[in-house]
Amino acid sequence: MSLNLEERIASNQLTHEEPAIFEKSREGRNSYSLPPSDVPEADAKKLIPQSLYRSSVEGFPEVSENEIVRHFVRLSQKNYSIDTGFYPLGSCTMKYNPKINEEMARESKLAAMHPLIAARTRPCWYSDPTARGLRP
């Protein structure tokens, strides 16, 4: 059953407590991996002047992927949003945006385009208005 805004706040769905992500850190815990390197490992300590070098960012989170997912899903549940209910505020942003737009905006081939390669790499639809098919 869907609740209205007052009921959601009252039922605590929007206000339950969730620790900050860096408070969940456990030393040595890690959720990122890369493929094995196929080039020699550079010695950063030697290449970078000693006074400018640092080996790691102090305080950065050390959490598992599963913890990150739960954390941000919980945070999301503390928000009220257009997709959870009517929001009669905000002339500029509070309209429904079709999900197909989101899907197209995330199209990986378009997302991967670098700003400084386009103009000199052919063919290129946005430099040729007739190719866009946007005008009758």
Binding site: V39, S55, N79
Partner: protein, 447 residues
């Protein structure tokens, strides 16, 4: 998806509420000669099947290089799968600006966490909730420096190592403040510290530097910091590639007053540099002059920890001439993706990724140098990007590589004619040894 989903019954009900019998009656106040007859000259609305087809056609027309070494301000990185999944949650993607903290604790806590991570990265005390991008963050820092110095106009020194596009944005932002802007030339591929020292001595209000700079070279911030120390001059820094902070100290550690960076490396794709966010960090003492949005920790009426917007001195809230910035917002959804990406990298992954970027660039430097004696690569320390001096025009090589279906780097002649024989090459974790070998072979063959 249909924008107008109402059926005849809905229309009848709506008309009944306003007491009308037909749609024509609703528009009867428009004189007939002003009414548009027939359809407007726009393409017909497309169904989802047609929209997908349209975008597939765009993709087919767009360059799809088989490999790329382009950086120069926008760096292509791997984005972990969980980033779009979590960022795309409706409660994040469709929530309103968090003015009502009771119903925005998710967004507010995420901003608070982002601010904390930015402070750790930059080694600064205070971060805002993000600005539009790296270049506008830097321009806001320049405006803020003038506010801190209580000056309507000031003398600003910009290192020639700053990205020329950033210089353009600065000039646009500052043009109505009648500031004097002077460029401090480089000595080789680094800021000339003697000229910088002279500028500071002659009473500059603000110094702006970038590291790694436009040549990819790591600037000596320890030396810049000691020049600034004890002077009246403020110091703002730009970092288009903040992943470098995985192996470099944050500029805050050397006394920078304002530390700004481009966010695209975390959570975003290159997107033709269109969808991004900017990092902005500074000293706590300047909190009342901070542009944009700031989230602080507090307690609610029953004593539970909660978060809220604070120090809101933007023009939306107070008189325009007293406002610290005309930016009342932040790039929240892009910032959120950046937060999730940085959290996923975590302490170990961030260092690992920075180290990998550095190793690939070092391999590329040595492979390209040994490909031909006529390629010159400076011995200066770099991160994941470096400059190759060629015996020919770099633009020619970029065009030739494009014809062969890849991007060999960025022609620096597009920034300055004096640099037209320089190719800026960037390697990230998305490049492989094989690609770098191919690039070196191409350069040997074509230059």
């Amino acid at each position: 998806m249909k924008y107008i989903p109402q059926g005849p019954r809905d229309r009848e009900a709506l008309l009944k509420v306003v007491g009308l019998s037909s749609e024509d009656e609703l528009f009867k106040f428009i004189p007939p000669h002003l009414k548009v007859k027939g359809a407007l000259p726009y393409p017909k609305a497309q169904s989802e099947i047609e929209i997908r087809k349209t975008f597939q056609d765009f993709c087919a027309l767009s360059p799809q290089p088989k490999m790329s070494f382009a950086g120069a301000g926008i760096y292509h990185h791997d984005v972990p799968s969980i980033v779009p999944f979590l960022q795309g949650r409706s409660e994040f993607a469709t929530s309103y600006t968090p003015y009502q903290p009771e119903i925005s604790q998710g967004t507010l806590q995420a901003i608070f966490e982002f601010q904390t991570l930015v402070c750790q990265l930059t080694e600064c005390e205070l971060s805002n909730a993000s600005l539009y991008d790296g270049a506008t963050s830097l321009a806001e820092a320049a405006l803020m420096a003038l506010r801190v110095k209580k000056k309507a106009e000031g003398k600003i020194l910009i290192s020639q190592g700053l990205h020329p596009f950033y210089v353009g944005v600065l000039r646009t932002y500052l043009q109505n403040f009648s500031d004097r802007i002077e460029i401090v030339p480089l000595k080789g591929d680094q800021t000339d510290l003697d000229l910088l020292a002279a500028g500071i001595k002659s009473g500059a209000d603000l110094v702006i530097t970038q590291s790694p700079n436009i040549f990819g070279v790591i600037e000596n911030y320890e030396a810049v910091g000691s020049l600034i120390q004890g002077s009246e001059t403020l110091w703002a820094t730009a970092t288009p590639e903040p992943l470098a902070w995985g192996v470099l100290r944050g500029p805050g550690a050397f006394g920078a007053h304002f530390v700004t960076a481009e966010g695209a490396s975390f959570g975003a794709a290159p997107y033709l540099a269109g969808a991004s966010y900017g990092l902005f960090a500074t000293k706590s003492e300047y909190i009342r002059n901070l542009p944009g949005r700031l989230v602080g920790e507090t307690v609610d009426e029953v004593g539970r920890r909660s978060y809220t917007l604070t120090f809101a001195t933007r023009e939306q809230f107070i008189r325009r001439d007293k406002a610290t910035s005309n930016i009342c917002t932040n790039q929240n959804l892009n910032m959120l993706a950046g937060l999730i990406h940085m959290t996923t990298l975590g302490k170990q992954g961030f260092s690992l990724l920075a180290q990998r970027n550095l190793s690939l660039a070092e391999y590329a430097k040595s492979t390209i140098s040994s490909a031909s004696g006529s390629f010159k690569i400076s011995k200066s320390a770099t991160f994941n990007e470096f400059c190759v001096e060629l015996p020919c025009d770099a633009g020619k090589l970029v065009r030739q590589a494009a014809a062969e279906g890849f991007v060999c780097g960025v022609d620096m002649g597009r920034f300055d004619k004096a640099w037209s024989n320089r190719l800026l090459v960037c390697t990230t974790e998305l490049n492989t040894k094989q690609q770098i070998d191919e690039l070196a072979a191409f350069l040997r063959r074509s230059a």
